[in-house]
Amino acid sequence: MEKIIGEPKKAFMTGNETIAWACLAAGADIMFGYPITPQNEVMHYWTRLAPKYNKGFLQTEDELSAGFTTCGAVQAGKKAFTATAGPGNVLMQEPFGMAEAMRLPVLAIIQQRGGPSSGTVIYSQQEVTLTTFGGNGEGHRIVYSTATHQELYDYVIKGFNTAWKYRFPTFVLGDGYQAKMREPLEMYEPLDKGIELVEAYPLIGVPGQIGVDREPQHLCNIYSLEEELYDVVMQMSEEYESISPDIIEFQAKDCEDAEIIIISHGVVSRVADDAVKILRAQGIKAGYFRPITLRPFPRQQLKDVIANSSAKQILIAESAYGQLERLVKQEIYGETVKINNLFMPGVGIIDFDIINKVKSII
């Protein structure tokens, strides 16, 4: 594959630009997109870079079309991706559902904006429920929630690999703050870091001659019998659960002696990290836990962290009204630790907010 980055290099750029470069480095072939803030610059940078590297782009008529053209392109064996946000993410649940049903290795970048409805255009963490469990399925998706530009770069590359290795639709869940702000990161060729890129392969238009050395490929997502669908979904569930240990990622710090563990994801985890340091400097033993994969969720890891700590309480901090909290609660059902929350739907959270909240409950 053509080298894109060359020697590892420091960059200072927006998250959306980072994503476009990461897609190139990951060997993406084609993007399908429709304008919506705050992901637009993913398209802007991709359309500037793509022709220089013989890559494709199509601006579709809406997000339904962007999602379904992406599905078509991956069926044909190309690394295709899309990016969207907010109401666009709502529309894309239909193609994402088909990707789930047909095990299509679609990669989607979601830059969360405020909701409900058109909400606000830059920031929130209110697309957690939609991205993890949207659609009329069972949430057989892989969702990475990033916090930094370095992670945007790393997880876009990883996301393509995860999608094509396991064939579950994969999401990099960012937000408008990550999309729009500039910060430093290191860009690199995946191979230079020992990351082998998983090869794409076609599901239709496959090699061989029909009737000579192969049968026709008839892909389907609808079944005549309830039992047929049951078998498909049960098989999918089993596979999803069996691969989950390989996919789950999380971070935990300072939890062993903690009185309270702060749980957060995405950019909020950066201020949670700061808050823990400040609280500890003030003599309050706080701990930090961050799921990086929201699907599959680090269930056992969080249970273990709680069990191995002296924490009697947890605090869930998010820029949404309980979307992370619902995930956490369903995953750690049975734990007796007290659950507190800091819900700030659609607005940023700073260390001060978390510190105040902790002090009010400890």
Binding site: L58, S65, G72, E94, L203, I204, G205, C220
Partner: protein, 251 residues
């Protein structure tokens, strides 16, 4: 003399035969014409056949070609995505009038405007067959359906969509647009073949609407069915090529 069995197109997938369409349905005729066109053009190996939801979905494993199912109205973008990813493949989307002209109309319009190099075959039977016979965009004025039990009132629900005429307006030169009918088989096969050839030549968007029959939901006998097709439908929806970049000698 004994009976001569009609020849089966080579591109048909025999394990899925006999097909599952209702007796008297026009899908079988349309798919026979399509199969013969695929055979004549010798493109079975590089054809990707995409099916919409509804009765057209019953064709999902009809051919010994690679195929994919999509969602209602979404066959157009899926075929566009495949074609853009692998231009060497020949993509044939198959849908009904509800999928193409109603729930997927934004995709059909924009694929046509963009002159996507795909072939779409839209079967117009003036109703939603699979869901039980509701009004479609193509239901004729006065026609009784499950959601127009007193007949379609054009004042309240609009007039039937003339799809090919509309697509011909929005496509650039190079597009192929035609309307065929299952009552004129040779013409049907020729127009479908032209619509595929037009994609193979890279000329542009290729679209054939096929007037078809639905005796199950029309609640018509054989005579009434054919009469409705030839008298009522073909009067409202004129049959023939509307736009073609292919030379006259090829017709």
């Amino acid at each position: 003399m004994g009976m001569i069995a009609p020849a089966t197109p080579k591109s048909w997938y025999l394990p899925s035969k006999p097909h599952k369409f209702c007796p008297g349905c026009g899908h079988g005729i349309t798919l026979k014409a399509l199969g013969e066109a695929i055979d004549e053009l010798d493109i079975q190996q590089q054809t990707i056949f995409g099916c919409d939801i509804g009765c057209s979905l019953l064709a999902w494993n009809f051919f010994a070609c690679d195929s994919t199912q999509t969602h209602h109205g979404r066959t157009t973008p899926v075929m566009a995505g495949i074609k853009r990813a692998r231009p060497e493949l020949i993509t044939i989307g198959y849908m009904g009038d509800g999928g193409g002209y109603s729930i997927g109309s934004q995709h059909l319009l924009n694929a046509a405007v963009r002159n996507e190099k795909v072939t779409l075959i839209l079967v117009n039977n003036t109703n939603y067959g699979m869901t039980g016979g509701q009004m479609a965009p193509t239901t004729l004025p006065g026609q009784i359906t499950e959601t127009t039990p007193y007949g379609r009132d054009a004042e309240a629900t609009g007039y039937p969509t003339r799809g090919p005429e509309f697509i011909a307006e929005v496509t650039p030169e190079g597009a192929y647009v035609a309307r065929a009918t299952v009552s004129k088989y040779k013409q049907l096969r020729r127009l479908i073949r032209n619509a595929i050839r037009n994609q193979m030549e890279g000329n542009g968007f290729s679209f054939v609407e096929v007037l078809s029959t639905c005796p199950t939901n029309w609640r018509t006998n054989a005579h009434q069915t054919w009469n409705f097709l030839e008298e009522k439908m073909e009067e409202y929806f004129p049959v023939g090529e509307i736009k073609s970049p292919l030379g006259k000698g090829d017709k």
